[in-house]
Symmetry: C2
Amino acid sequence: MKASLKRMLIGRPLKSTELGEQKLNKTKALAILSSDALSSVAYGPEQILIVLVTVGAAALWYSIPIAIGVIILLTALILSYRQIIYAYPHGGGAYVVSRENLGVNPGLVAGGSLLVDYILTVAVSVSAGTDAITSALPSLHDYNVEIAIVFVILLTILNLRGVTESASVLAYPVYLFVLALFILIGVGIFNVVTGNVPSDLHTSIGTPVAGLSLFILLKAFASGSSALTGVEAISNAIPNFKEPAPVNAAKTLMAMGGLLAILFSGIVFLAFYYGITPSATSTVVSQIAEVSFGRNLVYYFIQGTTALILVLAANTGYSAFPLLAVNLSKDKFIPRMFQIRGDRLGYSNGIILLSLAAILLIIVFNGTTENLIPLYAVGVFIPFTLSQTGMIVKWIREKPQGWVTKLIINSVGAAISFVVTIVFFVTKLPAVWPVFIFLPIIIFAFHRIKKHYDSVGPQLRLIADEEIPPIEGNVIIVPVAGITKVVRNSLNYAKSLSADQIIAVYIAFEREDTRKFEEQWKKWQPDVKLVTLYSPYRSIVQPLTKFIDKAERLASKSNYQVSVIIPQFLPKKGWQNILHNQSSLLIHTSLLYRRNVVLITVPYHLQK
Amino acid sequence: MKASLKRMLIGRPLKSTELGEQKLNKTKALAILSSDALSSVAYGPEQILIVLVTVGAAALWYSIPIAIGVIILLTALILSYRQIIYAYPHGGGAYVVSRENLGVNPGLVAGGSLLVDYILTVAVSVSAGTDAITSALPSLHDYNVEIAIVFVILLTILNLRGVTESASVLAYPVYLFVLALFILIGVGIFNVVTGNVPSDLHTSIGTPVAGLSLFILLKAFASGSSALTGVEAISNAIPNFKEPAPVNAAKTLMAMGGLLAILFSGIVFLAFYYGITPSATSTVVSQIAEVSFGRNLVYYFIQGTTALILVLAANTGYSAFPLLAVNLSKDKFIPRMFQIRGDRLGYSNGIILLSLAAILLIIVFNGTTENLIPLYAVGVFIPFTLSQTGMIVKWIREKPQGWVTKLIINSVGAAISFVVTIVFFVTKLPAVWPVFIFLPIIIFAFHRIKKHYDSVGPQLRLIADEEIPPIEGNVIIVPVAGITKVVRNSLNYAKSLSADQIIAVYIAFEREDTRKFEEQWKKWQPDVKLVTLYSPYRSIVQPLTKFIDKAERLASKSNYQVSVIIPQFLPKKGWQNILHNQSSLLIHTSLLYRRNVVLITVPYHLQK
């Protein structure tokens, strides 16, 4: 039943050899890996205006130079990551680059930031998309959290079905969104050029603004830069591309950068030219669309695809998180289970952990995750800075052909990213301080895990010619609850093993019970030694473990191995288990974690 | 840690021989077993007035004849249960009486009703007490459910500490409540006798009332009878009394009956004489107290003890439920675990189940459990009727000395109980219909459980001279994950058992892995047969169980026993378990429930 439900939800299991078919072509890869970056166009320009309008509407023209700054940063990042893709064609992105060139700890800072960041991506974008939907349908507003969780579960199932299948589904909304924005921007610019829009809606560029500080400008720039989150995702996910993977990944990255630049600058320009001020009830994109088209079908098409892409932006997290986890796991910084491929060849454990963490965030923040956006942006710019710096070190060390150009590109990227990171910390400290708490905790945990794995290896490795004491003989202990078929079954098995000694142990809750049972036993099994233990506190486990402990100490002196036979009574139906005291399980668990004793479970299946 | 926390909460474990010290004297028994019955005085009279006032204030004088009816019913019940106590001195009350004299199903109806009823007792009285407290402190009103749950948990801990200890704590509030009501009634009657109260506050008895139907009178009577719930508790709990238990129980029962009669009639009389009408904002007891004393210290004393006893009424459920469960469990109608005495010699499983069920009810009904009161009353009057009828049958069958008197007492009790039950069904169907659903379900479950236990006995019992096929030889299968110390450890153990064949099984996820491993193995363990299985779907459990299944089928043909050695890797600290794939546990669970295969867990403890 469970297996068929699983098959229905995520499809038939795939053979390991079918892995090749689970690779992405450029069109699909662009869709699932750029949804996060592209969706930021829907709120990035608005973030700039929100900061500027605190000074006054006259300051809004500053959005143009700020946008130019963002585009320069975007160009530097895209070119830098393109170099990273070629330099590290097996993926891993910021984590691998930083670890290789800057050292383990910078690598872990980058990797840890990104891990947390992808969780935030999922939580923030699903919440934002849900908000967009429930704003249109206010009757659903009370169920924000539930709807968001349902979206996360749907994304989980889609991603568990495998990367090609999710890409096929997600490609449509992503390209529809791009189409919608192209229409919006195209019509807008046409109107501007043909003079259909009055040219006095905005203050002209260069108008002096009173009270505008550098702090405000930097804050606006940092806010606009949050549109660049998600740019690094492709570099993490190279292994998902069809061969030649690095070439395809690089081309996809360039395409994404181009699209992002066009859409971002188009929206900023139109918002400026139309003199749009940010409003609590209508987004900037919605205002531009309304001015251009009125509330007709095109308007709703733009709004609908925008809401959809906000939800789907989460999918970038699903594409990048599991692969980053594999890299960290291979280096033993996180549990090995993240390297296991699921039925559909995706790294299911990473997908499931990401979903659970995102759902937890959505519940804890009650669906209002906007306050997490700065945290999320800073979590991206730390690895941006580290990876560019890593590349600088790499070029200086290796000095390959044309390294000076490469060095310049990465230096510009590193410098701007660093500035943006600092601006985030300075201007948005009240929102980003948790970084200083969770990053050290995560890095501490990484090291603890690594230390454990490192210590396990030598403990398991066989050393040639190493002498180990042989097992000289076997003592088998059989706890018995009475004279029944179950006990006979266990004793028969014990006898078949030709052990040196078999000891039956009976635990009596009443003193007079002891003698009576001993007499019965002598008649039934005269050749098996019986030990009766009186348990005044009615515990079975306690006197038994005490006895086994003693036996084990004695036996180990002469290299005898103690084994305990635990008869396991198995009723025909699952529910019937609650009708039997689960002593077997209790004994099993309490002995397993304490003693160097072999536990032998002899099943006794009930027939009806 | 867990053990010391448990010890702090419920005290040191007690030896079985200390059971004698866990018995109650009459004073303490009265306190914990009558809190339910006595607390009903706080709302029983009010229930009568609420029904009557629907016709008009003139109808209130009918409370006097109705109260006389309730007192007659109380007398009949007390005398009947006194006879039950002597006839069934080992307790069990309505369940045992009905089962012995009327048959199994009537017994189960009585037992099932009471089980559910005690759960309702706890939920209803804790909620009522919480309401009383949050009415006085309205700022706590939002936390009704949480407070009620805390009360249930406190009662659970108290009862897990043992019956004497809970009785010692609970005796004070119960007797304070009795004292408070005696003061109230005494002062009230003194005022009436000395003429301090005007005698025209009430319509005189016998005044004709227009629109008063028999239906209303019966409904008022049934509502008043709900004050009699809890009367049966002592007959269930005889084993908790000091010796001579039946004599002490009977005396306690008579004392409870006397107190209940005095308090009930006193409150009804004063309410009538003072012309009190039920109000939404002030209870009848509170109104009487206010008229008699004004809002002074005595008034708050009466109100405080009333709130307290409402919470403590729940304790009657805790005293009676576990003992009833023991009786049902001994007859195999509910799981055996209800017969296990906990550390403090109480039947902990009954106590814990009762608490969980009550908490569930409180949560489901969001703390407003008043609607459950009629259900709860009908759940008491069904066993009342059945047990009295059972006694009638017993007297007619056995005809002991003086049986005619005994017969008359039980007949009166049975007749009135039956009438009250019918009245409940007729007048309060919208509230009591769930009885028709849950009683059949419970009785069905009882029979299913009994059937299972009955089928288990013969399957376990040894039949003399029965031939069983001996185990002719042993095949030991060792799943191996590589060439490590863990595997060597398991193989050494397998070899020490002198099995007829040892087979190592290796599961490869990649084809080329297979040959490589086989070569390594041949060098390392040339004398142990290796089987390699290729798993294209990357599952370990599936190919392994398939192989074991095949081996088991082959082996069983010649009476060979298959055993599987599962190496269990045990890290030093608990948290490190998540760093290792839990294949051992997975294999253990999936093999245990499916095959007739012995599972041998060989521990490998990591040293660091």
